[in-house]
Subunit: 81 residues, 2 copies
């Protein structure tokens, strides 16, 4: 998992902000993330504008804390870049 | 403009939250909004998860307050539903 992810508490989660040069780059990333989310049935909270995306990975519904699967998913998101 | 938009101050903006029944409905709406945003060259701040979308329309770069164009854009977004 890339260092640019930040692990926060209360609630435990992973956060990352990614900046893009233009809206098309932002869209290309979001489209790839959409495919990954559907394949993994994992849907991060995403906020975006024209040239940025903020991602938040919450603990999975049936879990009480983050685990290696979450860190793997974060790595897979990094690999989209 | 549909009543479900809320006008807030400091900074002046329009906000709306839309709930969807499943991820596919959320994606369909976001794809239509993407087309509208590109056509209008207006890019709201968007945050979404599996079954919700939060929209924030900020005052346009060269303006100091919201105007009828912003309210029209909000109405066009409502029309996508």
């Amino acid at each position: 998992m890339n260092q640019s992810w930040t692990q926060r508490q209360r609630p435990e989660r992973l956060e990352r902000r990614i900046e893009f040069t233009d809206y098309q780059d932002t869209r290309n990333f979001l489209d790839k993330l959409n495919t990954l989310s559907q394949n993994r049935e994992r849907f991060p909270d995403i906020s975006f504008g024209r040239t940025y995306v903020n991602l938040t990975l919450h603990v999975k519904d049936n879990m009480s804390s983050l685990d290696s699967l979450d860190h793997d998913f974060a790595q897979q998101i990094d690999d989209l870049l």
